[in-house]
């Protein structure tokens, strides 16, 4: 049985911070489809469209019938452990620092046998459930889990290298003034975060929910205005070295397309929060988090961006807001590349219309702030990097994957109301 994770001790500031090392990063181009799906928490393998056989590792043609028509399909996650070993030496520094390390051969119900990491509660020759996740180098890997939930399952040290569990971690929520920010704080309390820093701009201005927010255990309210470079830098100076998870809940949303705007004032406000705000946060908090990717059980582990799904493709009903969200999404891709090497995951939650005042006229289905906040916690616990949340977002994401150019045409036909 996995021992429950203990609360990490206070860090001795005189001790050197362990620098992040990485598991192997190199993959073939073909294998990146596995990584991209793993980042969504999906377990896919190549299936031949002609003979239906499933193959692994990633190939260019079906080894059974030579058909080039291999498609990446979601696979059943069941399997049987047939061999396992505990590695006690490794030529890779990352694994060497983490020895001993269990790996094994799993005969998948889907067909192939695969090499996988093994959760500590998996018994020899038992049935397992195989999930795919990105590892510290951002590449997709498999881990075999016990078929049924076990006590403290999430605390397994090999599984924890693939997840960003908020338990005992310190979280910054960048805007606590909104329902979303407050729900996120609550969700982090529920997930066992040790400290939840909540940023509030212009704290003299009252806001609903203030008292309840302040009363949450572990919540520390701090001044933060992400449209103000100095404010962001000052807060980073104070808590940048102990921010393990950053959740950017700030957003500036206004309905309207370009020609419905008079000048650029509103669009500039949107960019100021949605794009430059994110950029300021990255510049102030990014370097510290990047250096702390291997800093013990409460290492820096995740940067969470909450973005409208119209970041993927513009919806003119919120035309300029979509544009600023697209800029933020692009920047998040830049951030992911910059964080590679640190083990810090960049998580993008792309949500459908949020149930809040600036999106009031939109028809259902909508995503409540609580649901979005809960999803943040679950996504971190599961170690997933990309989520499309809510029926609208799922629909847009699906169309985006099918053909982004067609999606662009489709969105231009959807009118508000």
């Amino acid at each position: 049985m996995v021992e429950p994770l203990k609360k990490p001790p206070k860090k001795n500031p005189q001790k050197r911070t362990v620098l992040p090392t990485l598991p192997p990063f190199a993959r073939s181009r073909r294998a990146l489809a596995f990584t991209a799906a793993a980042a969504e928490g999906r377990f896919v393998l190549q299936r031949c469209a002609d003979c239906e056989s499933v193959c692994y590792p990633a190939r260019e043609i079906c080894p059974k019938c030579w058909s080039p028509a291999l498609r990446w399909d979601d696979m059943p996650d069941g399997g049987q452990m047939i061999a396992e070993t505990t590695l006690r030496t490794s030529i890779n520094t990352y694994f060497r620092e983490r020895m001993p390390w269990r790996i094994g051969t799993v005969q998948l119900d889907a067909g192939p046998s695969v090499l996988a990491h093994i959760h500590g509660d998996v018994n020899e020759r038992s049935r397992v459930r195989v999930i795919a996740r990105t590892d510290k180098s951002g590449q997709g890997v498999m881990i075999a889990l016990p078929e049924k939930e076990t006590p403290n399952m999430a605390d397994d040290r090999q599984l924890r290298t693939l997840t960003c569990d908020p338990k005992f971690r310190r979280v910054l929520i960048t805007d606590g003034r909104t329902e979303l920010g407050q729900a996120a704080a609550k969700a982090m309390v529920d997930a066992g975060a040790s400290i939840i820093f909540v940023g509030i701009a212009e704290s003299w201005r009252p806001y609903p929910g203030k008292e309840a927010l302040g009363a949450l255990p572990g919540v520390e309210i701090l001044p933060l205005d992400i449209t103000d470079t100095i404010s962001v830098q000052e807060l980073a100076g104070e808590i940048g070295g102990k921010t393990d998870i950053l959740i950017n809940t700030a957003e500036h949303v206004r309905p309207g397309a370009s020609m419905e705007r008079d000048g650029v004032v509103t669009a500039r406000d949107e960019m100021e929060v949605n794009y430059f705000g994110l950029l300021r946060l990255i510049q102030a908090f990014g370097p510290g988090m990047r250096a702390r990717g291997a800093d013990g059980d409460n290492s820096a582990c995740a940067w969470v961006n909450l973005l409208s799904v119209y970041a993927l493709s513009n919806w003119s009903a919120y035309g300029t807001t979509s544009a600023s969200q697209a800029a933020a999404y692009s920047l998040s891709q830049c951030l992911r590349a910059e964080m590679a090497g640190s083990g810090v995951k960049v998580v993008n939650i792309l949500f459908g219309p949020l149930d809040e005042s600036w999106r009031q006229p939109l028809p259902p289905p909508k995503v409540t702030p609580e649901r979005l906040a809960r999803t943040v916690a679950e996504t971190l616990q599961q170690g997933i990097e990309t989520v499309a949340l809510g029926p609208v977002a799922e629909d847009v994401m699906r169309r985006f994957k099918e053909d982004p150019l067609v999606l662009e045409r489709e969105l231009s036909q959807i009118q508000l109301g």
């Binding site: 598991p23 692994y56 080894p63 061999a83 590695l87 490794s90 790996i103 005969q107 046998s113 090499l115």
Partner: protein, 394 residues
Amino acid sequence: MSIGDKRQRQAYDGIVVAAPVSVPYERYSPEPAHWWLARALSGLGSASGVSPSDVDGLCVSSFTLFPDTAVGLTQHFGLTPRWLDHIPTGGASGVIALRKAARAVQSGDAGIVACIAGDTNHVDSFRAMLTSFSRFSQDASYPYGSGGPNGSFALMTQDYMHQYGVQKKHFGKLCVAQRSNALHYPDALMKTPLTMEQYMSARQIADPIVLFDCVMPCAGAEAFLVMHEDQAKDMKLPFARILSTIERHNAYPDDPVQTRGGWSLDKDELWEQSGVTPADVSLLQTYDDYPVVIAMQFEDLGFCEKGDAGAFIAEHTFTFDGSFPHNTSGGQLSVGQAGAAGGYLGLVEAIRQLTGAAQQNAVADAEIAAVSGFGMINFDRGLCSAAAILARQE
């Protein structure tokens, strides 16, 4: 409909191997692979009297030769061959080089083929090689703990022991015997005796594999010549005859874990073509990067039934003077694993034994040698298997 070639394979009548050369191994070498291959080639010259203009066929195996291949070496080594090959099958490269060179000589495409294999071992070159060994290992095995071959063979060993009841003490007996052989082979890197007690209490590397199950990467080179027997007689070179060979790649791809190799697909043909039986074999050289592969070769080559390796090991002794002389120079486990030269080690040793060149570790009355190769852990298993039966000159 099944499309297949039903023709009888040709024998290797009149084709011989000679001039076994081993360049003494070193744990680490600052020299490049070219240096090691060059020493092997000049060793062939010293052993046989051939000069650069005599050799019209060249066959090379090396992992660390980058950016060169066999082509660049022709100019480097002053050769103008009319037949050239570069064989990337690792532990099976010796036998595969032999059979390709033999056919080249038999058909007249070449007269004297120099087969050379060698690798260097810089301080970091083993890690560098594993990092980019193959696309499948890069995509699907290296990211899982980066245990390298230790990890892959640990899984095979675990499943093999479970399925066939072979025990740790059986593997130990093979390792101890090979160390004993190595103490009679001056160029072995392992120079101290190994006891069963030491083996049984050895440090775990990747359960159930222990320290003495693993080979030590090193630098080294091996070489031999292939030619017609008339040529060898002209040159007054002692030689060994090629009775038969087999080669197979990616056998049994649907076995979930490898517990058998391609030999078992081809062993009937191997023995049939050779005209001898396993009982006639005076010495066996297996590919021994881990003892589990030795046990598989005993079974899959037909020295015992599948699943009987444990009993076979219990019943025999494996030193050069034992009841079943095996890996008589100490094998890779005790001599060292010099990259692609590891695929030549057993073959070169067999040629030494059959041509009277073996010294303190000579097998008495060695008439027939079986040599087997196994190579390339591409993802989770060794893909290449090969074997050859050789006979003394007369």
